[in-house]
Amino acid sequence: MKRRYAYFPGCSAKGTCRELDTSTNAVAALFDVELQELENPGCTGAREFRAISEQLHLTANARILALAERVASALVVVCDTCLLNLIEVNQRLREDAAARERVNRALKEEGLQYHGKVEVKHFLWVLTEDLGEAALRARIVRPLRGLRVAPFYGCHIQRPASVLQEHSVRDVPALDWLCTVLGAEVVDYPGATRCCGFHVVRTDEKIALRLSGSHLGQAKGNGAQCVVTPCPLCHTVLDAYQPKMASTHAASGDLPILHVSQLAGLAMGLDADALGIPRHVVACEDVLTHVAGARLASSDRP
Amino acid sequence: MTKVLETDVLVIGGGAAGTNAALKAADRGAQVAIVVKGLLGKSGCSIFAAFTPYFTKTDEQARRNRWRFMIRYYNHYLADQEYCARMEDYMCEEFYPDLERLGVYWRRDAQGNLEMINARNRSLVAHKQGATGPILLEKRRREIQRRALPLYEECAVTSLLGDGERVAGATVLDYRTGEFFAIRAKNVVLATGHSDYLATRATGTREQSADGLAMALRAGAELANLEIQWWHVSDVLAPKSWMRYHLYPNPLMGTLETSRLYNSAGEMFYEQKTHSPGASAPYTEQLRRLCLQVQAGKARWDGGYTSGYDHIPGDIIRAYQHQAKVWGKLGLDVARDRIECGITMHMRHGGLNVDTRTMATTVPGLYAAGGLGCHYLGGFGPASYDGKVAGEAAAEDALRRALPRLPQQALEAEAARVFGFLQADAAGPRPMQAKLRVRQIMWDLGYIKNEKNMQAALAALQEVREQSVPRLRLQSASRVWNTGWLDALDTCSMLDACEATVRSGLNRKESRGPFYREDYPYVDNEHWLCRNIVARVDGEWRSRQQKIEVPHLPPEKNREPFFEADY
């Protein structure tokens, strides 16, 4: 069955983390999932618009939602921070008629209108909820058996709880669940649900280095061979800043950081280059070697 | 040598009375120091005040209702009526502006009108966690900090020091560090409240061990009407820590509906709107009705009966989001379920015998404000008024006088007493156990009193005093936040206060308000419309009566059976 989604990759997936966009599309293609990218959607504003003007924050996100409404009934994002902005604004505008009216007044000039018709979801949830276990398993050709993966959720896919309802699969948090389905071993460590510090990395770098350094140190200490994250912003701190943490903080500097789509892609037999894995600052060779050794066993088929 | 600080006015206590006393004394130009056993604005019963009565003078009918309520139902004719008139002026003119100026926001509607609990007596709310007290105190706390008035928190005053003629200061134990010091002062305002944790279940906050009563007693002050002890009937039974969560029997904002009480057979036995429409705070009436249920075997003092709002339409009661949250936290639905309740020892009507024009006690240099006084039951507003009166009087007097001499001998004796408890021994008995025992004695004495059970309580208290206290040992001799050390000091205060209370009860040969004597089951206005006073002079207990004048609103009957009197 073909599934069609509106797709908002966000600035990271179009810039520093282009491999995220590539790998997401590559995995989507395996499942006959069509991601239709929005044209000139602008930005959800990260944490910046909301720190400038509340109205701008609402309108910028409503604009994206309005564009998505023209395409499909669900909008897919691949960044935690985009996810929270869009879900929060969607929720707020659905409840608050006055705010909806203000926003639509601003959108009108461009011939756009927000109706509140799309659901916003992370690509991770497309995999875990829309496609589900059977479909995923059917595609796995290189189960990540024995690979010890530390999930790193990022804040804005979990908090605040009032906006983000639980997205667990049978009581297991989505990312843990996905790792297990892909055949990997989940490494438990306190940092999994904590903050990477991205939103101050350019203004108060030491905070981000301390926080992420300690998470990575814990993950590594608990035996992780790599980290997987659904958020490109977390990815940037954990990966690009990791060498810097190695010199000053708890991290060792050699823990590969993968996007969710890359980890899934590897298990599903996609090529490391096609997934953009060589673009990471921290080399991923060890992970690739481990995965290359994997063969499909009959028990991995549903 | 014990460190000695100096000030004009020393304020002891950080509730409604203490905070206002400090601010008003400072307004008058006096140097002020404040010592608080808990945290200022976060301790004492002031933080439980759910709403504040709104007094206006324009509506004559409302004023008549209020007076009848104040004098008859709230104070059982034991209030000082001239005081009431002055306090009423304060409530009309100063209380609200004073606090609003500091930024308190009393609830309004979208048009800007004050929202009121429109029962027979009107009240306003400025909520924080379902209560008004915490937000009022937060603003006063910050004002006190802004003015940089010296504030000693988590410091317990252990004794008042006198020079033989007047009070000259107090000794303080900073229990965070174990430092013991003295504050020499021209005048002392004692504002330690009237909700003490003296019974197994009580509304008093943790640190409230009646230190104020005990210290005043030891300093020779007169205490009056201590036996007029209120009890809450509709407080949560379990968890135990929630015994201070109160299911208000009086109307909630936006409705005239009130909660109901049900006995173990599920029969409703009390509803304010039906059973005591004139009494906005119908606690004594609730008590009497519960008493009948207990006697009929259909409730216990500690459970076996419930309270709830399930007769009130769900949309009305669910609007009380705080109530709904509290119930929800126990897995209950405020619109459908009922909560099992127990009684809790609540505020004490009586306290230090004061002259309400200045709040001076019978010991020169010592003023008492708020719940600690004997002249009025209490309330956040009245306690604030008392603070103002005491603070101003103490300041004005202090500005005219020199610092009194601090009696070195008394100071060293108190240091020896306090540090005497700091002895560690692996084998108990622990101070907490003595403290629990005192609470149990007062709980067992309970509501229904007679000569015999009061005598028995006295004997039991005496036994703790003589048998346990001298043997108390701590787990550690550390001076830093040594809970056991504090417990030992608390126990001594509690014993003094409880003994005075029981003696006072033995003296009063009638029943009134929350005070019920089986052996004198009638209200006797002819003989007992008085301040029933006890004091200890040179180790001897003394007692006397001081007539209460009732110029504005006298009682209708001289004598009536207790269970028939409607107040």
């Binding site: 618009f49 309108t59 908090r159 709880a161 060498p243 | 609003e100 943790r206 936040w481």
Partner: protein, 305 residues
Amino acid sequence: MHLRVYRFDPSVDREPRYESYEVPYQPRMRIMDALDYVHEVLAVDIGYRWLCGSKKCGSCAVNVNGLPKLACWEPVQERMTIEPLSNLPVIRDLVTSRAPYEAALAKISPTLVRRTEYAGFPEPLKSTDVAPTAHLRECIQCLACQSACPVLRTGDTDFAGPALLVALSELAQDPRDGAERAALASDVANVFKCISCYACEPVCPAEIPIVREAIEPLKRMAYRVGSTPGARRAHAFLDTVKQRGYANAAAVAARSGDFGLGALGVALKMRRRGKLKFSDALGGRATPGLEGLRRTYETSEKEDK
């Protein structure tokens, strides 16, 4: 139930230790009831603070299994490791010093500074005027949020922390207040050092939406003052989006003027992997076809005055 309680008396102990106690479960039991049991029945003199037992005083918060909780409010768990709040000095056992919080509070002038003279009771105010602070006024200063804040946990920061920002924001959004709250938010409380992780919210017993209702309004005020790197960055971010239709890391960094040497090493590594183009930093022309987007953004910004 099994309790493991942190014991430490700095005046006598060289280092903290944990003591274990077995406590029988009672219906509806709160964490505080379990601690009371240890103190009262087991007669152990643990140092722990509480005053009201009913979520009014906010003095009993402790860490339970790593998360700050108001002891009188939260139910017990089968196994509990109970420790003092983080980010505050320990006085003894579970009791922490509130002094650092009080000192920081004093720095943000936490009293109302009236814009105009007080008009007398009741002063003209509508519920709608104070609606933005309704949740903030529920704060009981239990400091659970301060304990949960990862920025404070780094130990080395001039960030005030969530509890202080709640206090400041209540005043800053009070229509009666005329103090320079923006400068306080920006330069004293360092509001832009909030990392937006929301760790403070789930631990708040008053359920205050701290980030959205306390911190972000302050950020918006601080943005207008514009003196901190955080504010400059927000400005640069918006400009870049308006110009190109999306945020570009290099461009935003260049515009905020924060291409410090510290970040250069990281940037070089990113460039080597094709993650960053230095040429992007060079500003250049606005991407065509974005006129509509720019207009929409600008209309909205203006509407917020």
